[in-house]
């Protein structure tokens, strides 16, 4: 597969391209929802900073590693997995999956394969340091370590224990304290207590807005579509907590949802079925899935990826509370945590049916599907396992997906 031509690469990695793109995108998206526009601005500004002359450090992190750590050092967090989902959304993931094909088996996570392709094609902002945490999957650990040897940069690794016991919390706190020290050394930036407090309170502010938003989404009919929850809302949840932009975004989203509920408007009218989407992600390339659902009056009312699992951070105990945030992740540890959350979501969002997306390269998200399926069936809730892939369109079969979805909807509606 041919690498991108050098001129195009120059454009892609040049901050000026994004400065020019920014107002164009604004114009093009004038009629879109406000939170979506803030998301675009957030992304573009990050890329401008990340590709710019290095005033700030660029820290690559995997999903569910708390970005508060990067913001605490005034660094730019880059979430390659979210970038991969955007690349897939604009239909270009196939190219990068081909580039990395010789290196990683096609049975591994397509997010990582796509990122590797982008890295091999030298299109991503170079990391100053990589921070990854072992929740929630094996692949991310090893992959980010490989990337650190690829980019010849330090890799700080957060080994997340399995349970939430005292010994586990202690081990995690010890590691986080060391990471703060190491980061300070690597970036030559002293640990700034004031900035840490600011970041913590920003994070708590956006967290409480998310809590309100999640509560408002319980309204019938659903005021906000799960298809968008699974894209940019999830993206902001992974990328923005701790920043001020996050607060701007969640306020705008709250306003939007309030407006919808005040006018008693559904996102799409005649909502006949409320669906809970399981597995944190969805296919990001173009598919018919949400169109088919809408045609049958089915709405994804909520998605587990945006479940608020962590308690507020503590300004007086920043590292300890970040540790608690990491440990309270429901996809980490014994399955009961996730099952309890799912039961809660089914009640709170008045769910009539559950779709569990099952990407080909993912073990952590799909291994539990039979238990979840059994649990739901015992409680009389229709359940559909939907195989596919989030980034790799080769693992998606339109006909099979449509048949499965329609057969499921024929049962529920």
């Amino acid at each position: 597969m041919n690498k991108t031509n050098p001129f195009l690469r120059f454009l892609i990695k040049n901050p000026s391209s994004y400065r020019i793109l920014k107002p164009l995108l604004e114009l093009f998206n004038l009629r879109e929802k406000e939170p979506y526009r803030i998301w675009l601005r957030f992304l573009i500004d990050i890329l401008i900073d990340a590709f710019g002359k290095k005033r700030k450090a660029v820290i690559w992190m995997n999903s569910m590693t708390p970005t508060e750590i990067a913001y605490a050092f005034d660094a730019i967090p880059i979430m390659p997995e979210v970038i991969a989902s955007i690349v897939s959304n604009i239909g270009l993931s196939g190219r990068f999956l081909s580039i990395s094909e010789g290196k990683l088996s096609t049975d591994t996570c397509s997010f990582h394969r796509c990122i590797l392709g982008l890295a091999m094609d030298n299109l991503l902002p170079r990391p100053t340091v990589i921070i990854s945490s072992s929740n929630i999957c094996d692949g991310a650990n090893k992959f980010y370590h490989y990337l650190s040897s690829f980019y010849q940069c330090p890799h700080l690794f957060i080994d997340v224990p399995y349970d939430e016991s005292e010994s586990s919390l202690k081990y995690l706190i010890f590691q986080l304290e060391k990471i703060f020290k190491d980061l300070s050394e690597i970036l030559s930036i002293p640990i700034d207590q004031n900035r840490i407090y600011k970041i913590i309170s920003n994070s708590n502010h956006s967290r409480s807005l998310l809590e309100e938003i999640n509560k408002m989404r319980q309204t019938i009919p659903s005021p906000f579509p799960g298809s968008e929850g699974l894209s940019y809302l999830l993206g902001m949840n992974f990328w923005s907590h701790g920043s001020e932009r996050a607060i701007e975004f969640y306020l705008a989203l709250k306003r939007f949802i309030k407006m919808m509920t005040n006018f008693g408007k559904a996102y799409k009218n005649h909502e006949r079925m409320r669906i809970l989407w399981l597995h944190q992600i969805r296919p990001y390339y173009q598919t018919e899935i949400f169109k088919i659902l809408q045609r049958h009056g089915a709405m994804v009312s909520f998605e587990e990826g945006n479940y608020l699992y962590w308690p507020p951070l503590e300004v007086k105990n920043p590292i300890g509370s970040i540790a608690k945030k990491i440990l309270s992740n429901i996809w980490q540890g014994p399955l009961e945590k996730r099952l309890n959350a799912i039961s809660e979501m089914i009640k709170d969002y008045s769910i009539n049916g559950v779709i569990h997306f099952s990407p080909w390269g993912c073990r952590q998200g799909t291994g539990a599907s039979s238990i979840i399926g059994d649990f739901l069936k015992e409680n009389g809730i229709p359940f559909l396992l939907l195989p596919g892939d989030s980034i790799d369109p080769n693992n998606y079969s339109a006909g099979q997906t449509r048949t499965r979805l329609e057969a499921f909807l024929e049962i529920v509606v």
Binding site: K103, L104, S105, D107, T108, C109, H112, S134, C137, D138, G139, N141, K142, F143, H145, Y146, S149, F157, D159, P161, Y162, D163, S165, S167, S168, K170, Y171, F174, Q175, K178, P334, L335, S358, W360, G361, C362, R363, Q364, T366, G367, A368, S369, S370, I371, D374, L385, P387
Partner: protein
Amino acid sequence: MKWNDFFKDVLEKVKEKRLIPDPKGLIGWSCSYIPLEIIEALNFIPIRVIAQTNGEIGDAYLDPNFCPYIKAIMGDMITNKYDYISGYILTNSCDGMKRLFDLLRFHQKSSFAFLLDVPHKVDNSSILFFKEKLKEMISAFEEKFSIRMDENDLIESIQNANQTRRFIRVLFSLQGRGYPPLRHSEIMEIIKYAFDTERLIFNESIKIFIEYLQKQSQIPIHNDKRILITGSLFVTIDIIRLIEELGAEVAFTDLCMGGRVLEDVNLDRDPLLSISRSYLEKFPCARMLATELRCQRLMQEIERNRIKGVIYYTLKFCDPYLFEAPYIIEQLRKKDIPVLLLEGEYSSRVPEAMRTRIQAFLETID
């Protein structure tokens, strides 16, 4: 298979003679990071969970893109093949194992199941952390079975286990002895017995076997096609036998049941801490975040054993090994060491396609 049968005979004879006090029961274990010494000090016999079926039953509980070994275990568990086991110790070795632990509990396949949290890295803090987790494992046993572990039993257990490991190291060094020469595949067959035989019986048997073997002469084998196999695990030694049939010699295996059970526990004042340290510091499995260290140690073995080619064998869908592969393969290629990457199912037969690949690979090695 002469040596394997001979060892089996020795084992049977020893079993007849020796009387071992009744153990409390059998405990199934899944991962080489589980200190068997602790299980034995609590007076249980550890039995390696090695599934027999080929996983079709497991397909009903796990998706097709899941580790075939774990699916096979699931199939065995659901059909109650392990009903004679008193409990399970699993680790969070990988995502698959964590899900297996959940499935075990949700299908109520055992009254005692414990997940041992093994850290992903090795430093002072993780060694202390692992010690805490071992303590929690011991408490779980003590509570469930109303027993108490005695530190002296633990020390004795460690010493017996070190004996086993020493014998196995000696056995590997005797590869090529005797007529017909003791082959690597036979050694692997013999080691398998260690995983489901009471330790003292195994120790005595292998001692007798080694003494006999050491009296045999060493016929020099000028086999230049020396292969190293690195990977997760396979149920059948057939792959190693196949390589030997095709005229090559397997000199070293870095597998869950081969090279990774060789290192002693260095006993000092705190036996539990000693166990924690020694288990974490041994030749790491790919699930540890230790790619460079693994590579280094592999290179050492390659040099020491004058290896001509490496076979990197992973089970299909095994993320730790699949993600580790790019770096290791790059380093091997840099040193001009031929490497063959194989992805296998968990089956008792070597598929034609794999046989062809191995054969072709061996033909390209001088």
